[in-house]
């Protein structure tokens, strides 16, 4: 039975994607789109964990399954996908590139849901790559200059990330001697391996300095795609770290310092950069970057102090779920805002958007604040030296997020996001509202869903309102140069190769000239020799010359040393 459930969970989106190839089936696929993630959701909600199913014949011996942690990642991801799919169905209704979008969307869904179900490294990598690469089409969908640039940046980082991941997983498997993720996460891997894994997943997570792709991509993608990019796919990076890095098994002090530092920088640098952005969705993207900085703090602490992992992990899972729902809600809400034409409706939507914004910014008693408080507690088991700084960073992150949310809401009005014409607003509202409500209700539902893993959240302090207030006060203060790399990556590559090409061409030319010169000389030689030979009748004279030579050689051979004078040949012929 688990096998069938797995097949349904992965096969449904994959099958729908393949069905898109048939023009006749396209209508059906679009109608079925919101239901595509449901088998996975059902599996996560109602399946008994942990379980595994092995398929020796698949890839390199594929093992699929679900354990308690993966389940907690899968549930919010599936929810976000469902909501985004419902939105996408409306959003894309009149789009002439809808089929391409649907294909990429479904492939990315397959990858994203599938990677939570993978238990061995190659299979995980398969799904991870499927998700990452098919998202290229989502980012690029608009084909505008902005989308092209964002997509180029996106694919560059994805590639780098995939490669780091390939290396990290390869090394990890080499060191572990097993393909299973569980074994990898239980082995004290070498520092480079862990560094590669962290880098590979860090790209997806969007921590600095691997974040460059994230805000533009989230800004450029259509609303439903932004929602899943930010809500579901980023979490795949965190899941990857949780599943592969031997956190809690071994200490990696240096890496821990790096990750912690990176996390801190990320939290605030994202604010500085995001505050300069004008497009609301890009601002949201930076907010995601900032939020992932918080996650990085937890990971960094666990890297330094393995003992803290037991406490940190449940909090990180909760934070992931919280961010998934809230951020996806914000993105969908942006979409809803974009399709409103009447100012009153816009005001209503803005008000509605304040709820997830507040959740994210750390409104006391809501999931954001609870998560941060729980994290503070969990970090108590972490490195003591870092604890005050981490606590401070967490508090200030509330300020940062508040500022970004404020910027987002302002920019929403200043620079209304693009939306396709004739989109039916009501159909968009439902997923948005559902997600926002789910985010709000998360502290209440979480114990039911997560069971014992919800313990830290349930025990967390309600949180303080002052970061929110402070954030609101300085919301207009930030104006710092933001850095988006508009430099084409291909330009760099071509400057790399151009000298080699030129040098090769020059060497080739020189060789060709030399060869031609030699060939001219070589061609001139035989006729000259011919003339010389003819002039001296060399062939004929050769007879005489050869005769003499042979005589000399032959004579020399047969003349004994005692007989120094060789008599003329004929004299021997006497009677």
């Amino acid at each position: 039975m688990p096998g069938l459930a797995l097949l349904a969970a992965i096969g449904t989106p994959l099958g729908l994607a393949l069905l898109l190839a048939l023009p006749a089936a396209r209508g059906l696929v679009w109608r079925a789109l919101p239901f595509a993630p449901l088998p996975a959701l059902a599996l996560a909600l109602f399946g008994t964990v942990p379980f595994t199913v092995s398929n020796d014949w698949l890839i390199l011996g594929s093992v699929l399954g679900l354990d308690a942690t993966a389940r907690l990642f899968l549930i919010p991801a599936a929810l976000v996908w469902t909501a985004a799919a419902a939105a996408a169905r409306v959003w894309m209704a009149g789009d002439r590139r809808a089929t391409g979008f649907g294909l990429c969307f479904l492939f990315a869904m397959t990858g994203n849901l599938g990677l939570f179900l993978a238990d061995d490294a190659p299979t995980f990598y398969v799904f991870f790559a499927l998700m990452s690469f098919s998202s290229y089409g989502l980012v690029l969908h608009a084909r505008s200059e902005e989308a092209l640039g964002a997509a180029r940046l996106y694919i560059t980082f994805v590639l780098a990330g995939e490669l780091a991941l390939f290396a990290g997983l390869g090394l990890a498997v080499g060191e572990t001697g097993s393909l299973m993720l569980a074994d990898i996460a239980d082995t004290a891997l070498s520092v480079p391996t862990v560094a590669l894994l962290l880098a590979g997943f860090g790209v997806k997570l969007g921590v600095m300095p691997l974040h460059f792709w994230l805000p533009p991509a989230h800004g450029a993608a259509p609303v439903p795609a932004s929602a899943v990019l930010s809500g579901a796919m980023i979490k795949a990076g965190l899941f990857g770290i949780v599943a592969t890095v031997p956190l809690g098994e071994a200490a990696y002090a240096d890496l821990g310092v790096v990750v912690t530092a990176v996390g801190m920088v990320t939290i605030f640098a994202a604010l500085l950069m995001g505050a300069r952005e004008t497009a609301p969705k890009t601002v949201l993207g930076f907010s995601s970057v900032s939020q992932m900085g918080i996650v990085a703090l937890g990971i960094g602490a666990a890297l330094m102090a393995p003992g803290a992992w037991g406490a940190v992990l449940p909090v990180l899972v909760f934070l992931a779920a919280h961010h998934a729902l809230a951020k996806a809600g914000l993105f969908l809400g942006t979409g809803v805002f974009a399709v409103q034409h009447r100012p009153a409706a816009r005001i209503a939507v803005t008000v509605a958007l304040v709820l997830p914004a507040l959740i994210l910014a750390g409104m006391p008693l809501l999931s954001g604040a609870l998560g941060k408080e729980a994290l503070k507690t969990a970090l108590g088991a972490g490195p003591a030296v870092w604890l005050p700084w981490m606590t401070l960073a967490l508090m200030l992150s509330g300020v940062a997020t508040t500022l970004l949310m404020a910027r987002f809401l302002v920019q929403l009005w200043r620079k209304r996001p693009a939306a396709p014409a004739g989109v039916e607003s009501d159909a968009l509202v439902i997923p948005f509202v559902l997600l926002a409500l789910a985010a709000a209700a998360l502290p209440a539902i979480w114990p039911t869903v997560a069971g014992s893993a919800a313990q830290p959240i349930a025990e967390a302090a309600p949180g303080t309102p002052w970061p929110l207030v402070a954030g609101a006060l300085i919301a207009t203060a930030a104006a710092v140069a933001s850095h988006t790399s508009r430099v084409g990556w291909s330009a760099v590559l071509s400057t790399l190769t151009a000298p080699a090409e030129r040098a090769a061409a020059r060497v080739g030319d020189a060789l060709a000239r030399r060869r031609r010169a030699l060939a001219r000389k070589a061609r001139a030689l035989p006729p000259a020799l011919d003339g010389w030979i003819a002039a001296h009748r060399l062939g004929q004279t050769g007879i005489a010359a050869l005769l003499v030579t042979v005589l000399v050689i032959g004579g020399a051979q047969h003349v004994a040393p005692t007989d120094p004078i060789a008599p003329p040949a004929a004299e021997q012929n006497g009677p």
């Binding site: 006729p527 060399l538 050769g542 005769l547 042979v550 020399a556 051979q557 040949a569 012929n573």
Partner: protein, 492 residues
């Protein structure tokens, strides 16, 4: 055995001779007589083969004159292989000549065209000489047969009747006569030194300066006949200007007579020494390089093929000369294989070149690719022959080169390997000039005509060239034949 019961060896010499006389007397029936004579000769050779296979070496004294003076015929594996080769090529070239010289039969009372009238007598006379050379066991006989070959070959070379052919033929004749005279003088010296003319007598001869001089004379004479560089000057023009079947015979067989006699002399006598062999190798190297360069420059297809003969002959001398520890007792096999390979391939190639010239109307290499008419099969035959001459596997030429290089390596003579390699590269270069012309189409103005239907004339070159490539797979049996009767006194 009764006195007059002709034995197969005698028949192998006499049958073509009688055929030649008959064909001369009855020119209209010449092709029939000729093919019949060649067929009969082949049968006789088969009988010789049977005897050789039984006994190893077969000897027949003629006219009651035995050794040391007399006329004695002897056959062993090497001779048998050459006999078989000659029969094969004669048959193929004869068939090729049927169509090459076909045309309107003259009305009664009109003289036959010269080519049709004289080809068969000359060809059969040539075969008489060739077979005689192979089967002779004494120097005198060899000299006579060599002269027979010379006269027949000159006749064949001028058969085309053009000014160029006549000029080349005359030069050929002078070179050939001079070579023969040198051989004659050398033979005389040998007799005076040893009192014997048979090969067996030479074996025991003490080396002396006079004997060396005799061998030197013979060597130069034979080298002149075999066109060893730099005594090759007569060959390219003579072979290039003769008619195709004649060229095939000249290139495949006639030059081999000189080589064969050299081999036999080397087998029999204390001569040549290491130094002479090396000299031959150096000259062979010169031939390989010079022949190759000239072939690269040749403007006409047949001239290219003729120059390639010069280069290939040089390679055979290199094979002889690779010297080393084993000496000739080993290297003769490589030389023999190369002789066989070159003969089959070159006969096929000349016939193919003749076909190409006939069909296209000229054989200027630079304009081959302008022709809308492409004699596909002849071109295929040319390419196959080229494969063997270049020495690409699995051709017989490859096996020959392999033996050459294997021996040279065994003797540590890497320079001969280098020469072989250089020769191979040159041959690729010059043959690909022609092949490129065959395969290029973008300069053709008229619509292409690739399949003109196949003529009987296509069969001989294709078969010969195919054999040149395919016989490499039969190298084992060929070597077994060569070793019958243990030429050079060694067991393989």
């Amino acid at each position: 055995m009764p006195e007059f019961a002709p034995d197969p060896m005698t028949l192998a010499i006499l049958l073509p001779l009688f055929g030649a006389i008959a064909a001369f007397l009855a020119p209209r029936a010449a092709p029939l007589i000729g093919l019949g004579a060649v067929g009969a000769m082949a049968a006789a050779i088969a009988a010789v083969g049977h005897a050789v296979a039984q006994a190893g070496t077969v000897t027949v004294p003629l006219g009651g004159w035995g050794a040391p003076l007399g006329i004695e015929l002897r056959a062993d594996g090497l001779a048998l292989a050459m006999l078989g080769l000659t029969a094969l090529i004669a048959l193929a070239v004869g068939l090729g000549a049927l169509s090459a010289f076909a045309g309107e039969a003259p009305a009664d009372g009109q003289p036959m065209p010269r080519q049709r009238a004289f080809f068969w007598p000359l060809c059969l006379l040539l075969l008489t000489g060739m077979n005689g050379v192979y089967l002779s066991a004494d120097l005198f006989n060899l000299y006579v047969m060599l002269e027979v070959i010379s006269l027949a070959a000159v006749g064949l070379a001028v058969l085309g009747g053009t000014v160029a052919a006549l000029r080349a033929g005359l030069a050929y004749m002078y070179a050939s006569l001079l070579g023969a005279l040198m051989v004659l003088l050398g033979v005389g010296f040998v007799y005076l030194q040893t009192g014997r003319l048979d090969f067996a007598g030479l074996a025991g001869a003490q080396g002396s300066p006079a004997l060396s001089a005799a061998f030197a004379l013979m060597l130069v004479g034979l080298a002149l006949k075999a066109a060893l560089f730099p005594l090759h000057f007569w060959l390219p023009e003579a072979h290039a200007n003769a008619t195709a079947p004649a060229s095939a015979l000249l290139s495949a067989l006639v030059v081999k007579a000189g080589l064969y006699i050299l081999l036999r002399l080397a087998e029999a006598g204390p001569f040549p020494g290491e130094a002479i062999l090396t000299l031959l190798g150096v000259l062979g190297t010169g031939a390989v390089l010079w022949g190759g360069v000239q072939a690269l420059r040749a403007e006409r297809l047949k001239l290219l093929v003729a120059w390639s003969t010069v280069a290939q002959i040089g390679l055979i001398f290199v094979a002889l000369a690779r010297a080393g520890t084993e000496g000739l007792s080993d290297s003769w096999r490589a030389a023999a294989l190369l002789i066989l390979a070159h003969a089959v391939a070159k006969a096929g190639m000349f016939l193919a070149a003749g076909r190409i010239k006939d069909v296209i109307g000229h054989d200027r290499i630079s304009e081959l690719d302008r022709s809308a008419v492409r004699p596909a099969l002849a071109q295929l035959a040319f390419a196959l022959a080229a494969i063997s001459l270049i020495g690409l596997p699995p051709s017989l030429g490859f096996i020959g080169k392999w033996s050459l290089m294997e021996g040279a390596m065994g003797a540590g003579n890497w320079h001969w390997i280098a020469v072989t390699m250089a020769g191979t590269l040159l041959s690729v270069a010059y043959f690909s000039r022609a092949l490129t012309g065959f395969l290029r189409f973008d300069r053709v103005r008229a619509p292409l005509d690739e399949h003109r239907g196949w003529a009987l004339a296509d069969a001989p070159p294709v078969v010969l060239a195919g054999l040149a490539v395919g016989l490499g797979l039969a190298a084992g049996p060929i070597l077994a034949v060569l070793d019958l009767g243990r030429p050079f006194g060694v067991t393989p």
